[in-house]
Amino acid sequence: MTINVLFFASLKEELGLESMTLDVHDSFCNRAELLELLQNKLGRERIAPLLMENVAIAVNQTIEKADFTVQTGDEVAFLPPITGG
């Protein structure tokens, strides 16, 4: 199945990429697995910014701290530290 991966703000700039589709084999997913799939597609160097501890992952616009499941068509976003106001 296919998910949509989004990159925001500094990550978008550093990866030079706003969004991409990604094939995942399993509905079960976690951060490490997801990063491995992305590394396979984009290369180790390019995904380096995603490895920072302060980068959050949101699945369908909800922050996921541990493991998560995805379904085809889901939106998985990488979010650098936020600040509004």
Binding site: F8, G84, G85
Partner: protein, 156 residues
């Protein structure tokens, strides 16, 4: 009782939002506290050329709605309006507006400040400062987090 949350590239009119807030609050409104944040023209020794604001449509609105729901649990509020601009803003431009109407002054003040403190740390926005000495993505500061956390132990 439905609060207003708007994310927009366009500028906002303080007067219009204030009038709308009064209208929605009704005849028992006794207090309106407001806050506007603006782009400063310098930071330390650097000149600021602009501010670039990005958001995550849908998730950003949700993150603000959560803040307002929490504020409504703590205080007796009649109406709340949050307008937050995105896109590229020039120095002195308005960035954010929070207007809070309540019967009572303490509630209006506390909720307005609470919403701003949580917008700084919990709302899904990214800000890049465009400066004469280089651009920089802004992070919440230790002080921002301290201000947010100061609400946790306080009696409501």
């Amino acid at each position: 009782m439905v609060d207003e949350i708007r994310i927009q590239p366009e500028d906002f009119s303080y007067a219009d939002e204030y009038a709308r807030c009064l209208q929605a609050a009704g005849p028992e409104c006794g207090a309106v506290a407001s806050f506007v944040g603006l782009v400063r023209s310098s930071v330390g020794d650097s000149d600021v050329v602009g501010l670039q604001l990005e958001h995550y449509p849908g998730m950003t609105e949700q993150s603000i709605a959560k803040i307002l729901a929490a504020a409504r649990k703590r205080w007796d509020l009649q109406h709340v309006i949050v307008v937050h601009r995105v896109g590229e803003l020039k120095p002195n431009a308005q960035i954010v507006l929070v207007v809070v109407a309540s019967s009572h002054r303490p509630d209006a003040f506390a909720a307005c400040e609470y919403v701003m403190d949580y917008l700084k740390t919990e709302a899904v926005f990214w800000k890049k400062e465009l400066r004469n000495d280089g651009d920089a993505w802004i992070k919440s500061t230790g002080d921002d987090f301290a201000r947010r956390d100061s609400w946790v132990d306080e009696p409501s």
